[in-house]
Amino acid sequence: MTVLILTCDQDVTADMVVVHLNASGVPVVRLDPADLTGGAALSGEYVHGAFRGHLWSAGRLVSMDGLRSVWVRRPGTPATRVAEPSAWLTEESSQALYGMLRSSTARWMNHPDAARRARYKPWQLRLAQRSGLPVPATLITTFPQAARDFAARFPDLVVKPVSGAHPQEPPRAVPTSRVAPDTDFAAVAFGPTLLQRRIAKRADIRLTVVGERMLAARKATAPDADPEEVDVRFAKDDRPWRSSDVPARIADGVRAYVRDAELSYGAFDFVEDADGTWWFLECNQSGQFGFVEVDTGQPIARTIAEWLARPAADRPNRVNGTGTRVP
């Protein structure tokens, strides 16, 4: 039984998992959907009440029946590396590939339907609340007056993108940024705006969930850190991440979250305040983990490999087919 990894060639983070799968003798097929229909190919037939499908990638052929798991890591957009790419060909290739893969009994990390839903940050915030995780007061609005009222109630705010996407042409990033007290909120009318109470943090937390296992890492905030620098991804601080225990209340909440989100992998971002409370910021369903493993030595790649290597379920035990069991 084979592990199928959907990712791009340059994904060296996926390599960290492939190394472990190779060491344990688990067959792997790595396929970038962008390579359809050149370096990758597919075929499936529905005959006499049965389905038989095959995938081919760089000389390796695998049957859909022979898949134990599918890891959706950093797949390219289907059929974009062909000589004459088109939106139509991409849609055709996407429907063929992911439609057939949905027909298999393989376990997913993460299922595309669960992944798509999990990317909605407003949904994340509500699920985190329902899961019992502390969530900073947040407003998403296109009403300037609502923003002004919110700022009056919570004077120390940050702003961040609702989607997590970043504008292109030219490529720009929108880091989580502190909002000055005298800010003019008129431009809130021109796009949904996410405002959130700033948590005065003493550490950033990255909690990686793989199946039932949680691996937490903590990056302490420097005593002389610039209070304007709230987004750890842009911080100049080069302090390393360190392994951390997970508070029981947070562990319970995270279990509930991944169960209800039907995720088998999730990278949770929290900030820790002066009281030691972990405040939920977001959960990236395909968040990077290599940088945490490099700093902490936590066996994240090995844990992912072990999850992927488990036998396929006879039939999916959840709607999205993740087969995830969370105690």
């Binding site: 390599d15 957009t77 989607s163 997590g164 970043h166 490529p171 929108v174 990077q288 490099v294």
Partner: protein, 63 residues
């Protein structure tokens, strides 16, 4: 007419680092020019930041 959040935008930090490895389709791994597997050189990965959470990706939402 610019949305509020874009008042806080900055140029994306593109990872234009020339990586000292290349993908080997036979191994299904990226291989250093000296033949070693890139993913096993954790010091190199730290230096290059290729496994790091970054903002501003053109192709992926999740960091």
């Amino acid at each position: 007419m610019q949305p509020f959040a874009l008042n806080y935008a900055r140029p994306a930090a593109e990872l234009d680092v020339a990586t000292p490895y290349a993908y080997d389709p036979g191994l299904q791994l990226n291989v250093l020019f000296d033949g070693r597997i890139a993913a096993t050189d954790l010091a190199l990965l730290r230096e290059l930041g290729t496994t790091t959470s970054t903002a501003g990706s053109k192709t992926h939402f999740d960091d």
